[in-house]
Symmetry: C2
Subunit: 415 residues, 2 copies
């Protein structure tokens, strides 16, 4: 038995049914590795010694690659002085000053751990600010795992009661949702672009974004941009700055300390009073190590061409993939921003083509995701892209030649 399989078997016993959440592999192609011993830059090495170029970047955590020495050293240096204690480190104030100085709409910050903490706090503050309950969420959008936005078993009807659904980028459906909320609208939530799983991504329609701002201004509701996933991958500001719209609240996480655990809710003065009233805290929320790492990360964001780099690399990957797919007669759809690539195949309702393609890629040392957007980090190089395209050429050829059985793995997601 491989070390990989042995660990998967042990995990079955000590977790409810193996590794859970987005790192569960029951619903991934069969040959996907789950256990890794090390990671550096864009490469990770699994427990059986195989190396992969990783296009998931820990699901968007490492904007500057794994194990960045400068950022990690800042973390360790702070941790050796103090990490979490009965009080806070001055670095917390510095990080808040720096972060709110970068994000145009932001006058204040609250630091939390999970991205879900940030979006949930946004929902609570909007409700406290407006003294209303309804929150508009686009169908299929992910705003974290808390009860107010989740569809999980164990969530009660009362917890879900505040949600109203709309269709992303569809102005009419947004207006209908606002109408449905009547005088009870607390907030409109929006991801910066449509990055749902399983379907093509979509850039935000500026008319939709401006209408959302407009409807919030008219009703007194708060506009919340959930930038947890896309933050700093599209702009050096809140992601809706690219369509000229400023929210009242924005939720951040994942990459703001290049993978060290910290998330944030940023807010404008409009919401300050409510934010001061809502009660929130967490044992680890004041951990200063990630804040020290975050300061270096924000400096890197403001003072290096990382954004232009990942955009340029993303373009190279997209153009290369399109060429290689076409050469092999495969209909490949690449959607959304180039820095957050999504690959789906034409005529592939059960994703059997996507699964086979990703399985072929993984066996060639390139880790790509069959139904979730991917991420380009600043540690990627053109050589890595060339290696990826070589692997893709072979993978497309194998895919074109294969008899594909129905995809039975996906069922594990809902079972």
């Amino acid at each position: 038995m491989s070390r990989q399989d042995a660990l998967k078997q042990r995990a079955q016993s000590v977790f409810p049914r193996g590794i859970y959440g987005h790192l569960g592999t029951r619903a991934m192609p069969e040959n996907f590795p789950q256990f890794f011993t090390s990671a550096k830059g864009v490469r990770m090495t699994d427990v059986d010694g195989k190396e992969y170029i990783d296009y998931m970047c820990a699901y968007g955590l490492n904007l500057f690659g794994y194990g960045d020495e400068e950022i990690n050293n800042a973390f360790v240096e702070q941790m050796r002085k103090t990490d979490t204690l009965t009080g806070v480190s001055p670095v917390m104030v510095e990080f808040a000053e720096r972060f709110t100085g970068i994000v145009s709409h932001a006058d204040w910050a609250v630091f939390v751990k999970n991205g879900t903490d940030a979006t949930t706090l946004g929902a609570m503050i909007a409700r406290a600010h407006t003294k209303r309950e309804k929150i508009i969420i686009a169908e299929g959008a992910y705003h974290g795992m808390a009860a107010w936005s989740s569809a999980s078993p164990g969530v009660t009807a009362g917890e879900k009661a505040g949600r109203i659904s709309c269709t992303y980028n569809d102005v009419e459906s947004l207006e209908r949702a606002v109408m449905e909320a009547g005088d009870d609208l607390a907030a409109i939530f929006a991801t910066p672009f449509k990055h749902d799983v399983f379907i093509d991504q979509a850039e935000p329609d500026p008319i939709y974004a401006r209408r959302a701002r407009d409807l919030c201004d008219k009703t007194g509701a708060l506009l919340v941009v959930d930038d947890v996933r896309a933050g700093f991958k599209l702009a050096r500001d809140c992601s809706w700055s690219v369509v000229g719209v400023e929210p009242d609240l924005s939720a951040w996480g994942k990459c703001i300390a290049n993978g060290h655990p910290i998330s944030a809710l940023l807010g404008s003065d409009t919401a300050r009073e409510a934010a001061a009233k809502v009660r929130y805290t967490g044992s680890f929320w004041f951990q200063s190590g990630p804040m020290a790492a975050g300061l270096v990360t924000l400096d890197r964001i403001m003072n290096t061409p990382y954004l232009e780099n990942i955009q340029s690399l993303g373009h190279s990957l997209r153009e290369g993939m399109a060429k290689v797919a076409q050469k092999n007669g495969v209909g490949l759809r690449q959607t959304g921003p180039v820095t957050m690539a999504m690959f789906l195949f034409d005529d592939d309702p059960d994703l059997r083509k996507g699964y086979r393609f990703c399985a072929e890629m993984v066996s060639r040392g390139v880790y790509m995701h069959p139904f979730h957007n991917m991420f380009i980090s600043d540690a990627l190089t053109l050589d890595d892209v060339v290696q990826t395209l070589d692997a893709a050429d072979e993978a497309f050829r194998a895919l074109a030649a294969a008899e594909l059985a129905p995809n039975t793995r996906l069922a594990a997601l809902t079972a």
Copy 2:
């Protein structure tokens, strides 16, 4: 202006109203420091260079003191290999095996970040397991900051609808609550002992604990012990092992990696199927550094007399404090387990005596809390206790001599 005051002023601007949550100092005695530059063992140093013996241990995070070299080195070594990536480290399986091997009722684990994540997951799993909604929570008990258990502005009526209240240690009130739930009881939650703020602590009445187990068995509801705060401070097992009661689920956090950010929900096989169905994940939940730190922490817990040490130190502190208080004619109440001391004063409804005492202690380099339980860590020594008692002697004398004005600081907690 002191560096302390300058930082407080800057914090007012970049946070909704200064540092928030349990590390806000608006409701603490006026001279309490908020910003610190370093911490080691039981001592922390504030930004103006003053040193304090800290009886809060970061609110129970560091069972073995601040900056433990062995534990921190294990963290750094793992972080340098990989921390959070697109997959998991084998250390996650090892930590789950070790942890479930220590806690008698536990067959499986789910690792999360916040203590609140662990208690919330417990509530969701109980609801999914029973397909019912009602959760019994003792009045005044703290089970984290999520909507299902919180009283914050911004929580909706629907989110609160599932709660039923009872009185801790009062069997009749528990039975009434179960009756009130009718056929809709999902869970009984319990802290291992009564550790509410502002009031005397109380050890668990074994009859109450056994009746809770009994009522869960009869109704099919799950018993959840919230050991986030008290875990491993009373026993080398779930804290209700001391009264002979095993829960179905237990929530852990704070000290399980000596302050590195990780919490856990542990469960028995009864709840495994529901735990497998409920959907949960977090970007940072698979961070392996805290798991490596946690392995060393659990080894220390199982293989050193830390528990006997903190109990013995706690007894010395309690006996010494009683003597010094008596000598100075002050009526001091010390309640709850000695490892989690709580000091309240007789005839002190607005806590003016407690506030003055803590202010006097802080000015003498001892950080104690006027209305929250404190924590003894294994890094404390008898010399530290002697230094504390010397300070207390002076503080009690100052208190006895003082004219005490009404306590206006507490109002900040609810404002």
